[in-house]
Amino acid sequence: MPKAYQHPTFAFTPPPELTGAAGKRRPVLVVGAGPVGLTLALDLARHGVPVIVLDDDATTSHGSRLICMSKRTLEIFDRLGAGAPFRAKGVVWNTGRLFFREAEVYAFDLLPEPGHGWPAFMNLQQYYLEDFLIQAAAALPNLEIRWNNAVTDVALTATGATLGIETPAGAYRLTADYVVACDGARSTVRRALDLPFVGRMFEDRFLITDIAMDADFPSERWFWFEPPFHDGQSALLHKQPDGVWRIDLQLDGDADPEAAVRPEAVRPRIERMLGKDAVFEIEWISLYTFRCRRLEQFRHGRIFFAGDSAHQVSPFGARGGNGGVQDADNLAWKLAAVLGGAAPEALLDSYDAERIPAADENILNSTRSTDFMTPKSAAIRAFRDAALALARDHGFARRMVNSGRLSVPAVLDGSPLNTPDRDAFAGGLPPGHAAVDAPVLAADGQDDWLLRSLGQDFVLLLYDARSDIGPLQGVRQVSVIPAGGAPAPGCIVDRDGLLQARYAMTPGAGYLFRPDQHVAARALWPDAAWAAAARDRALGKDAIG
């Protein structure tokens, strides 16, 4: 049997506030060291904002939950300096197979496109994800994680918020200019503010297990509708590192939840799926009903909600964690810009303007997938089965079959921070899109990636330009030398011409990227006045009026 992950126990250190030190006011407190809180804290700290993360536990995620990480999530982790262990450990997969009863209906391919630093998807247990981010956090002196610090209450004022915190050494309070609640679906902060969710709940139960076994199944996503080995509606098998496999088995709404999670009930179900001879150990058993819902607003004055505290989706499509990481990515640079005086507080309103539509897209897609798996009547089920049956022969029906629409980066196309195109580009990425990677040569001639060259600043990327546009405060200018050119200081070379193609670049054209690597503006002939106006708009300086 492969070696299993060992959960670390992080040391509890009595906070200085409990040993006599005066409680200092903090710029930002993050509640929750899950995937979202850790991403946010890393991003803030790397932007120079001192940050404390409070977590009620002292280890990484108990069960795995999240397993599929999207390219965008991996790109964000890489920007945060945490990419290497993910690349070393994650399982890359490209193929999904769909079965209806006994037969394979079709297979899809994520069509890996060459010339990206990261694959479309990678599977890795949530505890590894957290572990790797915690390791990256340990290298940052201005990032402190306080384990066994449970937030119990919240007081919101016009200029900040105060948290009540319980620890094994006693209770204390901390006040900050901003608090970000990343404390998950059962958010204490949300309950303290008494904020309701809007959305739907699904009755069907899903038995989710991780098992460890030596098996030579390929690293593909296998999904069954009405599998012959299971009396429920659907089943899923997906590979993770360490010989761990995720198995989802959909149960009827009236299944007895307590009986269903007993190992002696789970084991025969898995044996029916994998065969009597399969040798496996059950690592984790859990039973979920799913919700697709969100808060009406993610910003409440000086308190922000990010990740599952703000919105929840069913896992089909891997949109929960991947969506939450994008919340953190969206909020960190804005808080840093406001705290550093580079942007007005109005910039923070754009968090709702940008992340609520993104959450709605995730909720819509996850709801549709869950509806497809949980038909509510005989007639609805007939449609589902009809689509599956027709899928064998008809492409249109294949496109209706919905076992999850996989997470893609949010396009912030309605954002008030975007500068609308004034020039006609023949394709490329309109404002609001997340940057797309391309292989480049760095100034020293070494192979590199575009996203790594963009980093975490505002960047004006100029293609085949004769010169930069003159000094522009708060914006780094990067010149791109077309494919075939020689590397030069301060420039990158478009190694394979893919940057030119993906951005529809023409000589002299430029893109302005935000610190979260979304396109803020682009122009065929950018000049200083245009760039300064676009930068200001992206910093929320136009937001009033």
């Binding site: 007639a379 007939a382 449609f383 089965d385 009809a386 008809h394 249109f396 209706m400």
Partner: protein
């Protein structure tokens, strides 16, 4: 308004109706339910416009609910 054409458009309504009926010949109730669902999906793809399909579905639904309001039973 919504693009759904509801005026009389079929040259030979009896033949069309018979084609629908014939398709169910000898099928069990469950098979017929499947046939209807597949038929709708095939026709929907032929139409290729989600707006028209939604309008037709809304029109059919309104007609069923109308029966309900009259105290009738569409499934009688």
């Amino acid at each position: 308004m919504n693009g759904l054409l509801t005026e009389d458009r079929i040259k030979d309504p009896d033949a069309l109706y018979q084609a629908l009926v014939d398709a169910h010949d000898g099928l069990s109730a469950a098979e017929s339910l499947q046939l209807n669902a597949r038929l709708i999906l095939l026709l929907a793809n032929h139409i290729g416009d989600a707006g028209i399909v939604a309008a037709a579905a809304a029109s059919a639904r309104a007609s069923v609910l109308d029966d309900r309001a009259r105290g009738g039973d569409s499934t009688a």
